[in-house]
């Protein structure tokens, strides 16, 4: 898994590449949480365009981050999940809580 974090004002973009499983879930969780704690972030954008695989360990990190953002009355967005990844997200029901977009531009346009 590769990770790229970028902050634009109060929005944190987390761009993930590769496979998200138990091997990397902890690192992903910690990296995001560290940024959420030290910065004033009210929007969290999880970009999954380059994610080729996710399992329930990965889902756990995403749903956990959603809960964190909801607690602080922030918003979360999921971007660019390919069909095989999106299928797992839908299975978990996260799509009922978080809006899913095709690309980052679509969020900026809303």
């Amino acid at each position: 898994m590769e990770l790229d974090l970028k902050q634009v004002r109060n929005t944190l973009f987390v761009r993930i590449a590769g496979e998200i499983d138990m091997m990397v879930a902890e690192k992903l969780r910690k990296t995001i949480d560290r940024r959420l704690e030290t910065n004033k972030i009210s929007n969290l954008v999880i970009n999954l365009e380059k994610v080729t695989f996710i399992d329930s360990s990965g889902l756990g990190v995403i749903i956990g981050r959603y809960k964190k953002m909801a607690e602080r009355h922030g918003k979360m967005f999921i971007v660019g999940a390919r069909p095989s990844v999106s299928k797992i997200l839908v299975f978990s029901g996260i799509n009922k809580l978080v809006s899913m977009y095709n690309n980052e531009q679509d969020i900026i346009n809303i």
Binding site: E19, D21, M22, M23, F53, D55, S56, S57, L59, G60, I63, G64, P83, S84, I88, F91, S92
Partner: protein, 147 residues
């Protein structure tokens, strides 16, 4: 039903072996006449079951033995067995309930995913002796053409 091919593999309960195990079973499943989407589903269920053995069965101890056996039967049927010799499950019915997890940090979706992407799931476990999950999936011979 005759066995056409099988692979049995054994490896230690290291986190890096989860991805190794699912790629190998995925590569093996490619011998079937099935779609890439179906192979992705096979990789997912292997990932779930092997993660469970490491996380729950062995509580993240890294040098315990995990065994995966994948069998291709006649008629496009694939059976996968994932086995550990760890902690075991006291209440299998409860464990299989959607959203149940003994670990508050986890989702409790592993068994639900396995059940939903496979045609049959059979869990055998004994506390203190280990757990074995048997999964079965029947692929449509024409799935590639239909995809």
């Amino acid at each position: 039903m005759n066995m056409k091919n099988y692979v049995r593999f054994e490896f230690p309960s290291l986190p890096e072996n989860v991805s190794f195990a699912r790629s190998c079973v995925g590569a093996f499943a490619a011998q079937l006449n099935c779609t890439l989407e179906e192979i992705e589903e096979i990789k997912l269920v292997v990932s779930e079951a092997v993660s469970n053995s490491i996380i729950h069965g062995y509580e993240n101890r890294p040098h315990e033995k995990v065994v995966v056996m994948a069998t291709i039967l006649e008629n496009q049927i694939m059976e996968i067995m994932i086995e550990d010799y760890g902690k075991g499950i006291a209440d299998i019915e409860q464990a299989m309930e959607p959203s149940y997890s003994s670990d508050p940090a986890r989702m409790g979706l592993g068994f639900s995913l396995m059940k939903s992407f496979m045609d049959e799931m059979d869990v055998c476990s004994e506390p203190g002796r280990g757990t074995s999950v048997k999964l079965k999936r029947c692929f449509q011979a024409k799935s590639r053409a239909l995809a």
